[in-house]
Structures are given as C-alpha cells and as structure tokens.
C-alpha cells in the first residue's frame, strides 16, 4: 500500500501503482484536466509509466472561470 495526497485529499493505492492507476481509481481517465506530480507538471503521455511513491502529492486541475 502507498498513500498519496491527491488534491489535498489522502488516498491509498496498491504498492506499485502508477499515475494512471490513481486516475482510474478516481474514475477520471478522460476529460479536460492536467496533472502535476510533486508540484511538477506531468504530461499525459507519462501517466502510464510514472510510478507513485508513498507521500507523493498529485494535483489534478480542470478549467474554471478566470479573470
């Protein structure tokens, strides 16, 4: 098991999970969103290979109105 902080919420995943796994767990594999891992942008192309470590932070952002 590993624990990560996704959008400031703690979630637990099986050891060896990737970013894709985390997104699937959330049910969010498509739609207009982007991801930062440990405060660094992670391109979509890398979701599948990118392993997660215990304590990682994942930011998932989507469009909002803005000024």
């Amino acid at each position: 098991m590993l624990t990560i902080l996704l959008n400031n919420q703690t979630i637990s995943l099986p050891a060896g999970s990737t970013v894709s796994d985390a997104l699937n767990a959330l049910g969010s594999s498509d739609g207009p969103f982007a991801v930062a891992l440990n405060d660094e942008f992670l391109p979509k192309s890398r979701y599948q290979q990118q392993p997660l470590n215990d304590g990682d932070t994942l930011d998932l952002v989507a469009p909002v109105g803005g000024g």
Partner: protein, 264 residues
C-alpha cells in the same frame, strides 16, 4: 482602413478581453461575452475532480463561445508554480498563450516583479507566448520585453477594486516609452469611463472581469464597456483637443449684438 490589434501575430478587431469568473450563472457569462464583442476570454485552472459537473458545465459554455482562450496562472505565488500551471494549461487548452500571474502579496494581489520576470523568461524559452500581468513599473516592463514578452498587461489598480487608473503618471510613461509594444490595461477597472480613458491615453486594449460580472446587469455592462473602449480608441485616433486653463468661447464673439460704440 481597419484599426486592428495584433498580439503575437494574431489579429483582432476587438480591444476588449473579458474574464469568465464571478458570474451568477454560465448563461449570464455567455450573454456578457456575447455583448462584449470580445474575441479573447480569460479562464483558469483549479483542482477539480474532472467528473465534477459544475466545472464541466462552465468549461463547455466557454468552449461554445469559440473565442480565443487566454488561460491564466491566477493565484500562483512563485515562478515555479506559475510555470507548472502554464504547462498544465498548454496541455489542456492546446494553446501556448498564457496570461502570466505571479502574485507577490496576498492582500493587494499585486504582481511580484521578481517571480514574474523569472517565470516570463523561462516560459518564453519553453515556447509560450507570455502576456504578463505586471505593475506599471517601467523598468520591470522593459525587463519583461527583454525576456521575450511581446505584450504587456500593466495593472490599473488592484484586482477587483474598481479604483481605475491609480497612477496615470506611470501609465503615461509606459505608453510614451514603449510606443510599439501592445499594452493592455489589466485589473482594477470599475467603470466604462475608466476604460475609455485608458484607450484615450493610447493603450491598446483593456482586460477586465469583476466590473462586468458584478454589475447589476452584466450583459448590459459588457456592452457598455465595449462601446466605451471603442469610443476611447476612436478618440485617441481622432486627436483629442488640447486642454486649456482659460475659457474660450465656442459661439463667435465677432458680431455680438448690443455692444455699441456710440457716435460722438
């Protein structure tokens, strides 16, 4: 001959950029965008579960306008945050345009000159077309240009205040000293007359959000700003009269009746 605005090689007829936040509903936002005749809208990114309905609805609404998107990095407090959020924007919105905000203070929400310059330089290197939200500091503006920015967006006054053009001396200095740079007054405008004056001073465009979204009737206000911006631009091009300290009659004084030089 058309009077067009060119930003990073793209050509626009409208000189009004409108934000998409703070409206009471997506429908009101859409009405306001339509009434504004704008061709560029700003928007942002926030943590959301992509399945979130509200976010999806607004995003669909924004998309439906077909306007050019100008995503922002609102709320970022460091160059690093802004750079990463810009990258996320580019991936989502498939545009390398970015309204770059690096906030230096939580209360006045002003640009941080240091983080802003650092982020602007790095993002330019990464191929972004950076439109920095900056102060009216000439030296900062010159350094942003040196770092590769081709458009600058100095503030009028702090975001959301409606205080208008707080430092006209600095704004005039910017316009005089950077005559060929597209300059967009961004933030702090609260009334069409303020936007009109910015255009009369020779600014190239105006970006705002709160003054429209928080009007009692946002779409009517959007239309009012659009007209005022056009008016200010026309006035700038038509050559304003010079101010005088002393009065000067409009109706001619020659031939004034009842003034007699009586024969002796």
């Amino acid at each position: 001959m058309a009077d067009l605005l060119t930003l990073y090689g793209e050509v626009f007829q409208s000189r009004f950029l409108l934000g998409t936040a703070l409206y009471s509903s997506p429908a009101t936002m859409l009405d306001s965008v339509a009434a504004s005749r704008c061709e560029i809208v700003t928007l942002g990114l926030r943590r959301q579960n992509p399945k979130d309905r509200d976010g999806q609805t607004l995003w669909s609404a924004i998309q439906s306008t077909g306007k050019r998107l100008l995503p922002n990095t609102a709320g970022c407090k460091s160059a690093k945050e802004a750079i990463n959020l810009a990258e996320m924007s580019r991936e989502i919105f498939a545009t390398d345009w970015i309204k770059l905000e690096v906030i230096g203070d939580d209360y006045n929400l002003q640009p941080c000159p240091f983080g802003l310059l650092e982020a602007a330089a790095e993002l330019t290197l990464r191929g972004f077309k950076v439109l920095p939200y900056c102060t009216d500091d000439l030296v900062l503006c010159q350094k942003l240009l040196d770092a590769g920015c081709q458009v600058l967006m100095p503030w009028g006054s702090p975001i959301g205040t409606g205080l208008g053009l707080m430092n006209k001396y600095n704004l005039k200095t910017l316009r005089e000293r950077l005559p060929h740079v597209p300059l967009i007054v961004d933030a702090g405008l609260g009334a069409p007359s303020q936007a009109c004056e910015a255009m009369e001073m020779g600014f190239d465009a105006v970006l705002l959000n709160t003054a429209v979204a928080k009007a009692a009737q946002p779409a009517v206000m959007a239309q009012a700003f659009a007209a005022a911006i056009d008016a200010g631009r026309s006035a700038y091009r038509a050559g304003l009269m010079l101010k005088r300290q002393t009065a000067s009659p409009s109706t001619p004084t020659i031939g004034q009746p009842f003034w007699h030089q009586h024969p002796k």
